[in-house]
């Protein structure tokens, strides 16, 4: 199917950081089954507020899988403040673009990452 470029297909075929993180410091989920995409991101955060480990689980189309995969690749080792600044467009651009129809619905990986960071921060806030 040539609707996706090679880089998207490469991430679809060999997604990075798939799975669950036991004892994650933050978990974020976006999307729902009605729209056909659910993305969940797990993060581990170190003492310097860096993402030391990250995993994803996704139910969705090729674009959903590829954006999830690449956002984990980009975010790994990133400071939280920088990771918060990533947006969905950055993610799509880093894949060399997505078909227009996929830009809105299946391009939620940065949102899932933000949700995980928010979860981490709210957990931390509560424990202080």
């Amino acid at each position: 199917m040539s609707v996706y470029n090679e880089k998207v297909m490469e991430h679809f075929e060999n997604p990075r950081n798939v799975g669950k993180l036991e004892n994650a410091d933050g978990v974020g989920e976006v999307g729902n089954a009605t729209c056909g995409d659910i993305m969940r991101i797990y993060i581990k955060v170190d003492d310097e507020e860096r993402i030391s480990d990250i995993r994803f689980q996704t139910f969705g189309c090729g674009a959903a899988v590829a954006t999830s995969s690449i956002v984990t690749e980009i975010a790994k080792g990133m400071r939280l403040d920088d990771a918060v600044a990533l947006n969905n467009k950055d993610v799509a651009d880093s894949l060399g673009g997505l078909p227009p129809i996929k830009l809105h619905c299946s391009n939620l990986a940065a949102d899932a990452l933000h949700a995980a960071i928010e979860d981490y921060r709210s957990r931390k806030g509560e424990s202080q």
Partner: protein, 387 residues
């Protein structure tokens, strides 16, 4: 070399080599306009007339009842809009189902915006309308019933003959979208008591861009296109005579081998269904037995359809989810939703449609690669991990 397996025959089929051979002379040597008086024209006219007779004969119609169109979509549009306009003085109520192809569905929705009233009949879990619902929907101003014969997505057959009986008794014009059935299973317009019937050559190993509408003698219908006098003014424009010849040859070929093909394809279909259902949490969509010979449609829980298509495509297997138009759109199939399926299951549905060229080895290959593909995607899915 990787195997290449085409299991998307409901979307389209390859042109049969004999069909292509029959068509070729009409592009170069016998290129005349069928309306021309000279020898070139007469030769083309004879070819068109002969093809029309063959096609009419194949569905038990009269040659004067066949109007060539650019395909199934145009035939559906012509039937529905043409009758709606011709009958507007009598009434403006149309009945159809909620599992139609977009060519019918969108045409009815368009008419609904133009002042017609349309009833979309519900379907049961298998995708079938009920005669009781239909009878209850009929009103004094109902002028048209339009129903799909074999469903292009889930393969389910509608009770077309029974509907034909009822429509004839009530004096309501009856159109059938037979795009998935003509050339695949026997279709007899008299036995089915239909007034209009759409079909399309590229679904039965003929060329794309040619189809026909059967119009029973005496049916009130207006043309959508105006111009010269071709097709008895129902569909003017210089005939695509090469395609018409190809359509006739394809239909002839289909009829010659129909019962053998139905038996063989049905057996392959059932073997594929059985094999797929051995994968945990896979269900069959559509009717278990009363379905098109080549149609397999399964719901694979916890995974999404496009991911399945891409994964199978990487292994050389061509399938679709929902219908060809649905891939690329984000809404799940209206057919599956009308059958009462949840969005989650509808998003995870896969359609595999077999053809006369499908082999036992093709089915073996698909069944051998499918479990690992499903497993990989499920391991990635948050829904699967939670169950």
């Amino acid at each position: 070399m990787q195997r290449s397996v085409y299991l998307d025959h409901a979307a389209t089929t390859p042109v049969h080599p004999e069909v292509l051979a029959a068509m070729l002379p009409y592009f170069t040597r016998n290129f005349g306009n069928p309306s021309s008086v000279h020898a070139f024209g007469r030769e083309s006219r004879i070819a068109v007339d002969k093809a029309r007779a063959t096609i009419a004969n194949a569905i038990n119609a009269d040659a004067r009842e066949i109007v060539f169109t650019s395909g199934g979509t145009e035939a559906d549009n012509m039937a529905i809009q043409g009758v709606a306009i011709a009958m507007a003085d009598k009434g403006k109520h149309i009945i159809t189902s909620s599992v139609e192809h977009h060519a019918v569905l969108d045409t009815c929705e368009y008419l609904a915006k133009q002042g017609w009233e349309v009833t979309f009949l519900p379907v049961d879990e298998f995708g079938r309308i009920s005669l009781a619902d239909l009878e209850a929907a009929i009103r004094p101003d109902t002028v048209l019933i339009s129903l799909i014969h074999g469903n292009n997505e889930v393969g389910t057959m509608q009770p077309v003959a029974e509907v034909g009986e009822l429509a004839r008794k009530k004096g309501i014009v009856f159109h059938v979208d037979a795009v998935q059935t003509v050339g695949t299973i026997p279709v007899d317009v008299k036995a089915l008591k239909v007034d209009l019937l759409s079909f399309s050559a590229h679904k039965f190993y003929g060329p794309k861009g040619i189809g026909a509408l059967y119009i029973r003698k005496g049916t009130r219908i207006k043309p959508l296109v105006h111009g010269g006098g071709q097709e008895r003014k129902y569909r003017p424009g210089t005939e695509n005579h090469a395609a018409i010849v190809g359509m006739a040859r394809a239909l002839e070929f289909a009829l010659e081998n129909m019962s053998d093909n139905v038996d063989r394809v049905t057996a392959l279909r059932d073997r594929l269904i059985k094999g797929l259902l051995e994968i945990p949490e896979v269900r069959l969509n559509g009717h278990p037995t009363d379905r098109l010979p080549g149609n397999v449609n399964v719901g694979i829980r916890y995974v999404e359809g496009e991911s399945l298509i891409l994964s199978l495509d990487m292994k050389g297997v061509a399938v679709s989810s929902g219908s060809a138009c649905t891939s690329g759109a984000l809404d799940p199939s209206h057919v599956l939703l009308a059958m009462g399926m949840s969005h989650e299951i509808a998003h995870g549905s896969l359609r595999l449609t077999l053809g006369i060229d499908t082999t036992d080895e093709d089915i073996d290959y698909v069944l051998s690669i499918m479990p690992a593909i499903v497993d990989r995607l499920r391991k990635m899915s948050p829904l699967y991990n939670e169950k």
